[in-house]
Amino acid sequence: MTTDLAIETEGLVKVFGTNRAVDGIDLHVPAGTVYGVLGPNGAGKTTAVKMLATLLRPDGGRASVFGKDVVKDADAVRGRVSLTGQYASVDEDLTGTENLVLLGRLLGHTRPDARERSGQLLAAFGLAEAADKQIKNYSGGMRRRIDIAASILNTPDLLFLDEPTTGLDPRSRNQVWDIVRAVVAQGTTVLLTTQYLDEADQLASRIAVIDHGKVIAEGTKGELKASVGSGSVHVRLRDPEQRPEAERVLRSSLNATVQLDPDPVALTATVNGHGTDLGAAEQAARALAELSRAGITVDNFALGQPSLDEVFLALTDRKGTTA
């Protein structure tokens, strides 16, 4: 789409008692993209989303959605957003059809229209057979799907997905990811909160990392990864006895931190490119050569991009927290 901003916040604050749940967050979310908000439990993700979705009133700062203030112009914001909360935002006592018809009516559709639309959505989301069952009898994956179906009953311009795959099995998680991709392909902006790094990696184009109510890093996936290092070498030795020696060789060769993996024959070193013009691959090759020169037998090695896990741990460690 254009470079319009779907969400803009400045110094957003929410305080619960003495807990500054959201402590001055600035966000700029371009329209038409998936924006990931990544953080551990209790980082303030849900609180931030609730303020943006007009459910909570900010205690400080300001936030706007498509240029409309979430407090002063809450009604205009409500007309353009949809929310799928951490827990299914559908009525558990009602059936799938009843939920969607109820929502359709509340959005102003006539009863026949609401019924027709409900039937189409349930069929598209593989819920036609469960249409007349109460939601409380749905599996976790089915709940997520009806929840998202409810959220796109009227095409929203901005969809909030608050931890959409928490508690889902891998298959259901992949289904939700596919749906999210399809929704974005229609031009809807998605703000996705997650505590799963690979989820943000899979879906989001830009990511804000939040911890203790503050944004501790923001950028594209590539930028975030580059901020930690350009890659890492994973080495597996034949003989666990040689690991201390291997650690020493790698550290001096790569001039970087070496991490001992839980597996007694494995270690991982970051290749950060500091103090040399060599590329990551070349540096790694040198380090391996030095290992063999030192008489250490390498069974297997791999050169990888740093994962967002490593990014996340590095960022939170820097702030003195352990994850």
Binding site: R78, L103, L106, G108, D157
Partner: protein
């Protein structure tokens, strides 16, 4: 948008169980998207009635919840009629003429407190987050609740009047009197329930809602003229009883059913009702918006 009124879901789609569901492809989904056009928003009444429909659906799915508007009122009528009848009025037959309108008022006013409990349990669920992000008239979900509850009160009234007539209640006002009395009772109960929506939003747990409700409801219903004429009560108690809204309501309903026109008590009842809506309705909405 569409003209069709018949919907065939499931029949013509392939078997899609949860396991081999494949997310809709982008082009399939595109067909589902309504584009940016949206139907006009529903008005305040339409939105409230839609929430009322939700309450009806809940009764349909969990009919056990009608226990408190069927079994409980029958118990109340039988218990108090036979317990006090002989002692207070000489005979059950005579006492029921006095008691039935009163016990009807008392039971229905008591039943209103379940509103608070259901608001409290419902609001904690995720679905309220969705309702609150909809661009609709803000009080609609609450009004919808109360509209659903009015149906419950109506059921309770019908049950009690039926039992009453079976055991000998013969009001002089006939059917019109009964209908007017029930109508007034429903108006009052709808208004009074805003106290419970407020407590349902204010208090943290279902148990505390129950506790507070008991504290309000027992003095309000027992310290009234439902069971006996207040003339024998000490002066300070009479002062409370005579100004208790439940007394005005009970008198108004009793007289209406007896075929009279208790103008003052009707006025008092409607006045109290308006006050409840204005005061507790606005507290409720303030809490609801802030929750």
């Amino acid at each position: 948008m569409s003209t069709g009124t018949t919907v065939t879901t499931g029949k013509d789609t392939q078997t899609t169980d949860a396991l081999d569901f494949v997310a809709p492809k982008a082009d399939e989904l595109a067909a589902l998207f309504t584009g940016r056009a949206r139907p006009p928003r529903p008005g305040a009444l339409a939105a409230s009635l839609t929430f009322g429909w939700r309450a009806m659906l809940k009764i349909k799915h969990v009919p056990e919840q009608l226990f408190d508007v069927t079994a409980f009122p029958i118990m109340m009528v039988l218990m108090y009629t036979y317990l006090f009848g002989g002692a207070l009025a000489g005979s059950v037959d005579e006492y029921i003429q006095f008691l039935l309108p009163g016990i009807l008022v008392m039971s229905v006013v008591m039943i209103t407190m379940y509103t608070g409990v259901s608001v409290n349990t419902d609001i904690e669920k995720g679905v309220f987050d969705r309702f609150r992000t909809l661009p609709i008239w803000r009080p609609a979900p609450m009004v919808g609740y109360l509209l659903g509850d009015v149906v419950r009160y109506l059921i309770a009234s019908a049950v009690m009047l039926t039992v009453g007539v079976i055991i000998g209640y013969r009001p002089d006002g006939g059917l019109p009197g009964i209908l007017l009395g029930v109508a007034l009772l429903l108006v009052f109960s709808f208004a009074f329930s805003w106290i419970w929506t407020m407590f349902g939003l204010l208090l943290r747990s279902e148990k505390s809602v129950m506790g507070v409700s008991m504290m309000v409801i027992f003095p309000l219903t027992f310290l009234s003229n439902v069971f006996v004429d207040p003339k024998t009560m000490p002066g300070w108690l009479q002062a409370f009883v005579n100004n208790n809204p439940v007394t005005h309501l009970a008198t108004a309903v009793r007289e209406l059913m007896a075929g009279n026109w208790p103008g003052a008590d009707i006025a008092w009842t409607l006045g109290w009702s308006a006050l409840f809506v204005v005061v507790f309705g606005s507290f409720t909405m303030r809490l609801y918006n802030r929750k």
